[in-house]
Amino acid sequence: MIKKVRPHINQNEALLFERSSPGKRGYQLPPLDVPPVHPASALGAENTRGEIADFPEVSEVEAIRHFTRLSTQNYAIDLGLYPLGSCTMKYNPRVNEQVARTEGLAWAHPYQPESLAQGILEVMAALEQALAEITGMDAVTLQPAAGAHGEFTGILMVRALLESQGDPRKKLLIPDSAHGTNPATAAMAGYSVQNIKSNALGMVDVDELARAVDQDVAALMLTNPNTLGVFEQNITRIAEILHAKGAQLYMDGANMNALVGIARPGDFGADVMHLNLHKTFSTPHGGGGPGSGPVAVKRHLAPFLPKPRLARRTDGNNARWTWNYDLPQSIGRVRAFYGNIGMHIRALAYIMAHGGDGLRNATLDAVLNANYLRALLEPFYQLPNKAPILHECVFSDARQAQRGVRTGDIAKRLIDYGFHPYTVSFPLIVAGAMMIEPTETEGKAELDLFIDALISIAKEVEETPDLVLTAPHDTRTSRVDEVTAARKPILRWKP
C-alpha cells in the first residue's frame, strides 16, 4: 500500500522555442529619455548582429505557465524527504530567502565605496567568526564558490605553505571512500593521488597510512565522518602521523552536519577544511547550485588565504571594515570579487535562528534520524558496516542483487512511493551502495513512511521483482534512456 502519493494530473509543456510565435513579447521597457543611437554607426556595421535566430518569443502569461508547469515535474525538499547521502538536503528556511533580497545587500555593487558597504562587510565578518567557532579554526575565507572550489583553495594553501618551507611535495593521500572531487582537486592543484584503502570498519587503516606518509606527501584529504557516516576513531593519531612528517590534514567538511556543536575539526588535528553552506548551513541547492565553500584554517595557514581579506581598521574613535590586499604570501584570488555573498547572508541567518544550542540540537536530531532508519531497515537490507554511525547510513543491495535487483532499481521504485531516492552506488567501497542521509529536518512520521516504503520494496523484490526492475511506474516520465543520451548527444534544441 503506497500511503504518500497517488497519481494526479500534470500538464505537458513544450519547449520555449516550440511555444514561440513571431512578435510575442513578455516585457515593456520605459520610453528612452535620451536620443536613440543607431547601433551600426556607434558600434560599426561589422560588429552589429541581426536578429537572434529562434530566440524565444512568448507572452508573460505563456512564460509563467511554462516555468510553473515545468516546476511541477520536479521533486523537492518542500514536497518531502530527500535522503541523498552526503548531500544534506535539509529544509531551506524561507526567511533566509527574504533577507538575502534586502535592498541594500542585494543591490550592493562590489566596487561601491567601503563606507557604503559596511553592512555587508559586517555580515561577512559575523559569518567568518561563527564558522571559525563551529570548526575550531583560526581564520576563514568566504571566497570559494562551492565545495570543490573550497577544496581547491585549501589544497593551494597547503601547497603554498610547503613551498614556503622549501618543497611543495608531490602527492596527496586520499581514502578510497572519498568523493570524486578530492582526486579531481588534487590534479588541478598539481598533485598526484595515492589512494589509501579503508579497513573493515570503513576507517583509514592507520598502519597503512603510517607506511604511506613520507617526504613526498603534502596532505591527506579526509572526510570525517567518512562517506559511510562513521567517525574516524583514530583521527588524532592520523593527524599526528601526518604532522610528524611535515604533512597537513585537509578535512572535507561535506559531512559537517554530523559534528556541529559536538566536535570541532580544529580541535582534533585538522589544519584546513572547507564547509558547504548549501549542505550544513541550509542554503538551497536550487537544482544544482549556487553553493558556497568557505575554507577554515589554523593559524599557520592564515598567511596563504586568498586575497583580499576582511580587516578591521580603527581611525580615532571610528572602527570600520575594509578589504586588505597587502598579503604577500596569499595564494591570490580564486574568484572575482568576494564570493557568493547571497549564500553568506542565508547561512548567517540560519546560524542566528538556531544559536549555539539550536545548531547542536540539529546535529543530535540528524544523527538520531540516521540511526533510527538504520535500526529499522537492517532486517531487510544488508548492512556492510556495523560500526556506529552519525548522520548517514549505507546499506548494500547484496540481498536484492541475488534476485537481479540492484540499488539503482530500488531507488527508482522509491519514486513510486513518493520519495526522492537515496544516493546510488556511492561510496565506491560498498558494492551496490544505498547511502541514506535523512537530516534533522524529518520528523518520525515521514521517516516511518520512508521505512515502510523500503520494507515494502524489499518484499516486492522477493515476490514481484519485475515491478521493481521496471520502476518507476506512476511518474509522468518513465525510466529515462541515459545510454542513448550519451551515445547520440542532443544538447540543444534545433528547429
Binding site: L43, I52, P56, A106, T185, G288, R335, G342, D357
Partner: protein, 425 residues
C-alpha cells in the same frame, strides 16, 4: 525513537567518539533569534549600505539592470529552489528541461554549437577554458589580453601556477583602448595553446574578434572569447570565429549582491565537446517513447573520472542559470535587442558629455579622463549628490591613474547623467 536505536539519551549517540575530540562546552554563538529579529538585523545591515536613493554608474563586470518580477517568482518555486542536482531524471524534468533551454539559448546568443549547464561565474570559467585549450592543443602557453577583466586575470594566474601553464599578457593600443594586434602577433608562438580576449573589453571597447581569431588560428592556437556584459550580445555580432566562449550572465536579472552568486558559462564547438567541463543536459526518451532530458556525458566529470576529470567542478549555479533563462524568455528576441539599444543610447548620451579616454567603439561603459582631478575627488563630490561614480582605474592600470570607468544602463536617469557630467567641469 531513542528506544528503537537502543540509546538512553541523544548524547549517548556520540558515546563512541574519543573523549579528546568532544567539545565540552556550548558553542559561543548567541541564543537563537526569532524570524522578526533576523529580518530586522539584515534590514539594519542593508541600511548601512547604499540602499535606496543612490544612483550608480559602476560597471566593471557587475551591471545594474532591471530584474523582471517573473524572475524571482519562478526561482522562488519550491520545486526549483529546494531540489538537488537532477541525478534522478524521472522526477527532475523541470530542472532538466530548463537547463536544456538554457544551453540552447546560450548557443543562440554566442554562435557556438554546445554549452554547459553553468560554471561558478565568469572569472572561474576563464581558467577552465584555458585548461581546456591546453588539453585540446597539447600546448601549454596562454596569451591573455590586458583588456580582459583584471580580476579574471588574477583568478587565471592562481589556477595557472600549478598547471604548468605559462601566462603571457599583451597590451592594448593607448589611443583606442582595443587590444594591440601587432603585439599579439609578436608574442604568439608555437607553444601558445590559446589567446584570451574579452569583448566588450574591460574598458567597454568592442574588440576585433575576427582579426584576433585569424592570428590565433594562423599559429595553431585557439581563440577564447570572454564576455562580462551579456546584454551586449543583444546587439553585438556573436563571436562565431572563437573556439571557446567563457562568459558571465550577471546582467541577465541576477542581482549584484556585492559580487555573487552569479552564473558563468562555457560554450564551444561540437568537436571540442568532450573536453568541456561542467554538467551537460541531453535529450533522450523514456521507456514509453516520450521526450525526456537527463544529465549526460558524465564520463568527463569528477564523480566518474576522479583525478582524470576535465575539472573538479560539482555543484554549479543552477538556480542562477534559471534566473538567466527566465530573463531570456521574458525579454526574448525583440526585448534583448531593445534592452541593448537602450543601454547603448544611455551610455552614448553620458559619454557625449565627458572627456573620453579611448576612441574605440563602446557599448554601455567607457573610460573617461579625469585630467587635473583624481578620480576619487570626482567620486567624492558625486557622493554628496547621492551618486556613486565610476571605478578608478589606477588600481588595475597604473598608467590610467587619472581615468575612471563609467557605465550607464537602461536604469540610468538623464538627470543623474547630467549631474555626473557637471562634476567633470
Amino acid at each position: 525513537m531513542l528506544s528503537t536505536v537502543g540509546a538512553e539519551t541523544l548524547d549517548s549517540l556520540f558515546a563512541h567518539l574519543p573523549a579528546e575530540v568532544r567539545l565540552n562546552r556550548p558553542l559561543n554563538i548567541p541564543t537563537g533569534k526569532s524570524e522578526y529579529e533576523i529580518v530586522d538585523y539584515f534590514r539594519a545591515r542593508g541600511h548601512e549600505c547604499a540602499a535606496g536613493g543612490y544612483a550608480s554608474f559602476l560597471g566593471a563586470g557587475v551591471y545594474q539592470h532591471y530584474r523582471p518580477v517573473l524572475v524571482d517568482t519562478v526561482v522562488s518555486r519550491s520545486e526549483f529552489l529546494t531540489s538537488y542536482t537532477p541525478y534522478q531524471a524521472e522526477i527532475s524534468q523541470g530542472t532538466l528541461t530548463t537547463i536544456f533551454e538554457f544551453q540552447t539559448m546560450i548557443c543562440q546568443l554566442t554562435g557556438m554549437e554546445v554549452a554547459n549547464a553553468s560554471m561558478y561565474d565568469g572569472s572561474t570559467a576563464v581558467p577552465e577554458t584555458a585548461m581546456m585549450a591546453v588539453r585540446l592543443t597539447g600546448r601549454d602557453r596562454i596569451l591573455t589580453a590586458r583588456t580582459v577583466h583584471p580580476e579574471y586575470r588574477e583568478v587565471l594566474a592562481t589556477y595557472a601556477r600549478h598547471q604548468g601553464m605559462p601566462l603571457v599578457e599583451f597590451d592594448y593600443v593607448r589611443e583606442t583602448g582595443a587590444l594591440d594586434l601587432s603585439e599579439l602577433e609578436q608574442k604568439i608562438d608555437a607553444e601558445t595553446a590559446a589567446v584570451i580576449i574579452q569583448s566588450p573589453n574591460f574598458f567597454g571597447i568592442v574588440e576585433d574578434v575576427r582579426q584576433a581569431a585569424e592570428i590565433a588560428h594562423r599559429h595553431g592556437a585557439l581563440l577564447i572569447f570572454v564576455f562580462a556584459e551579456a546584454v551586449s550580445l543583444g546587439l553585438l555580432e556573436p563571436p562565431r570565429d572563437a573556439d571557446i566562449v567563457a562568459g558571465e550572465l550577471q546582467s541577465f536579472a541576477i542581482s549584484p549582491s556585492y559580487g555573487g552568486p552569479f552564473a558563468g558559462i562555457i560554450a564551444t564547438k561540437e568537436k571540442y565537446l568532450r573536453q568541456m567541463p561542467g554538467r551537460i543536459v541531453g535529450e533522450t526518451k523514456d521507456t514509453r517513447g516520450n521526450r525526456a532530458f537527463c544529465l549526460t556525458l558524465a564520463a568527463r566529470e569528477q564523480h566518474i573520472r576522479r583525478e582524470k576529470a576535465t575539472s573538479n567542478i560539482c555543484t554549479n549555479q543552477a538556480l542562477i542559470a534559471l534566473m538567466a533563462t527566465v530573463f531570456m524568455a521574458v525579454y526574448g528576441k525583440q526585448g534583448l535587442r531593445e534592452l541593448a539599444s537602450q543601454n547603448l543610447a544611455k551610455a552614448h548620451y553620458l559619454a557625449g558629455r565627458l572627456p573620453l579616454r579611448f576612441s574605440g567603439p563602446f557599448f554601455n561603459e567607457f573610460v573617461v579622463s579625469t585630467n587635473a582631478q583624481m578620480p576619487a575627488a570626482i567620486n567624492q563630490s558625486l557622493l554628496e549628490h547621492k551618486i556613486i561614480g565610476g571605478v578608478p582605474l589606477g588600481k588595475f592600470y597604473p598608467e590610467l591613474e587619472r581615468a575612471m570607468l563609467l557605465c550607464a544602463t537602461e536604469m540610468s536617469r538623464r538627470e543623474d547623467m547630467d549631474r555626473v557630467a557637471e562634476a567633470f567641469r
